[in-house]
Structures are given as C-alpha cells and as structure tokens.
C-alpha cells in the first residue's frame, strides 16, 4: 500500500516537474510547480516528516509560489515577449548532459549506499513532528536558526532596494 502511494506520487512529481520546464507560458509553469511541491509534501509524509510536509505546503506552495505568480502577473508578459527558445543543437546537448548527470548520480547512489547505519526499523512515533524538530532547532541548531532571521532581514532589504524605482 505504501509502495503504491509512493509510486503514484513519484509519477505525479516527475510528470509535473517535466511540465514545469516544457510549458511556454510561465503562469502554467508556476501552477505545475505548485502541483510538484504538493506531491513532494506527500512524499515527506511517507518519509515520516509531517512537520516538513506542512511547512512545504504553507511556505513553499503557499508563500513562495504566490510571490512567483505575483511577479509573473506584475511583469504582464505577452506572448511575443517570451522571446525565442533555444536552438535545436543547444536543446540536444542540454538533454544529453542532463541524462549523463542523472546516470552519474544514479551510479553514485548505487555504489555508495551500502553500509549505512540504518536505524529506520525502530523510529519512535514522534519522529519528525513539530515537537521533535522544534526541540532540535532550539537547542543544537539555535545559532543557525537565529542567523536565519538576519538572512531574511537582508533579503527583505535587498528585495526593496532592487525592486524600488527610486529610493
């Protein structure tokens, strides 16, 4: 049953990811990216990460993609402004190199995945919940967590400086 859910979600994820990059209209691309992110949230649930699944939906599919859609609609691109796409030769080499990259990573996974200290048999039921992740975030990873706030502040200032017409 779990494998069936994984299979369906993986197919949805791969198909929507391909649709993201082949769509000519950026709005359609963004909508398919939202679908891909939701499929990934399902995979997070299967991987015992319910907290991250919720964050994925709220922050990624919600906030970040709404920002994307806002910008796409702000730019208000017409069809003739999309510009010409890559030439045939560039497309051919792009596909070739992407396939080579996939084969390389696949070979690495196959070669190096033996001998991991697997602990997945005895995971405790609270694994991946907001309580467990939050506890780790506010003890061992307190400093990175605080630095995150500075990063977001810099991003806010930077975005305003970039996007504002006249300061």
């Amino acid at each position: 049953m779990e494998f069936l859910i994984f299979l369906i979600t993986a197919i949805v994820l791969v198909v929507t990811a391909v649709l993201v990059i082949v769509q000519r209209n950026p709005v359609a691309s963004a909508l398919f990216l939202i679908a891909a992110l939701c499929a990934q949230a399902v995979l997070y649930l299967l991987l015992k990460a319910p907290f991250l699944a919720v964050i994925q939906i709220i922050v990624y599919a919600g906030a970040i993609m709404v920002l994307f859609l806002f910008v796409i609609m702000l730019l208000n691109l017409r069809r003739d402004e999309f510009g010409p796409e890559r030439r045939k030769l560039q497309k051919f080499f792009g596909i070739l190199f992407a396939v080579i990259l996939f084969i390389e990573i696949g070979a690495l996974v196959k070669l190096s995945l033996t001998g991991l200290p697997s602990a997945s048999k005895g995971l405790d039921p609270a694994f991946g919940g907001a309580h467990a992740v939050g506890k780790l975030l506010f003890t061992d990873y307190l400093f990175p967590f605080e630095v995150t706030s500075v990063l977001l502040l810099v991003a806010i200032v930077g975005a305003i400086v970039m996007a504002k017409r006249k300061l």
């Binding site: 990811a17 995979l43 992740v133 967590f145 977001l152 991003a155």
Partner: protein, 100 residues
C-alpha cells in the same frame, strides 16, 4: 517500507529535470523555477537520509534550506523585476551587460 534508494533515484531524476530546464529554457522566470526544482530535489534526498539514519538533523537542514530558498526567491524576483524594467524583456539572452 519503500527503500531509501528509490527516494534518492527519484530525487536525482527531479534534480536532472531541473538542470535540463535551466539549460534549455531562456525565459528567466522558468529558469528560476528550475532552480526551485533542484532545491526541492536536494530537500527530498535530505529527508530520505534523515529517515534512513533515524536522525532529525536532515529535517532541520531542510528547514534551513527552505528559509534560504524563500530569501533567494524574494531577492531573485526583485532582480527579475529590475531587469524587466530596464530591458523590457524576460529573456536571459538580453542579460549581457557584464558579458565581455
């Protein structure tokens, strides 16, 4: 239970699709979405390893990666707006000001 290697293969497939989108598209918005796809592929492998090793550190990393992705999206989209305002185009071939 689905083996971790399946998740890693799926993750590498999504990453390759992101790389492919980055290489073959010229619309700057779609290139930006391809970067998001790649970030998500890496997140998926981190979560898969977190379950495999029984350690929550991978999930904390994913949390931090998501924050960086949010900051990157905000600044990147601001750059796209500035670019579009100056060049009236969303094509990366017009981004050649620093090209020698």
């Amino acid at each position: 239970m689905v083996p971790t290697s399946y998740y890693l293969i799926l993750s590498s497939l999504i990453f390759s699709i992101g790389v492919l989108g980055f290489l073959i598209r010229r619309n700057i918005l779609v290139i930006f979405m391809s970067i998001e796809l790649m970030l998500n592929a890496v997140n998926l492998s981190l979560v898969a390893f977190a379950r495999e090793l029984g350690s929550l550190q991978g999930q904390v990393f994913v949390f931090l990666v998501m924050t960086v992705a949010a900051a990157e999206a905000a600044v990147g989209l601001a750059i796209i707006i500035a670019f579009f305002r100056n060049k009236k185009s969303a094509n990366v071939d017009d981004l050649n000001l620093m090209k020698w």
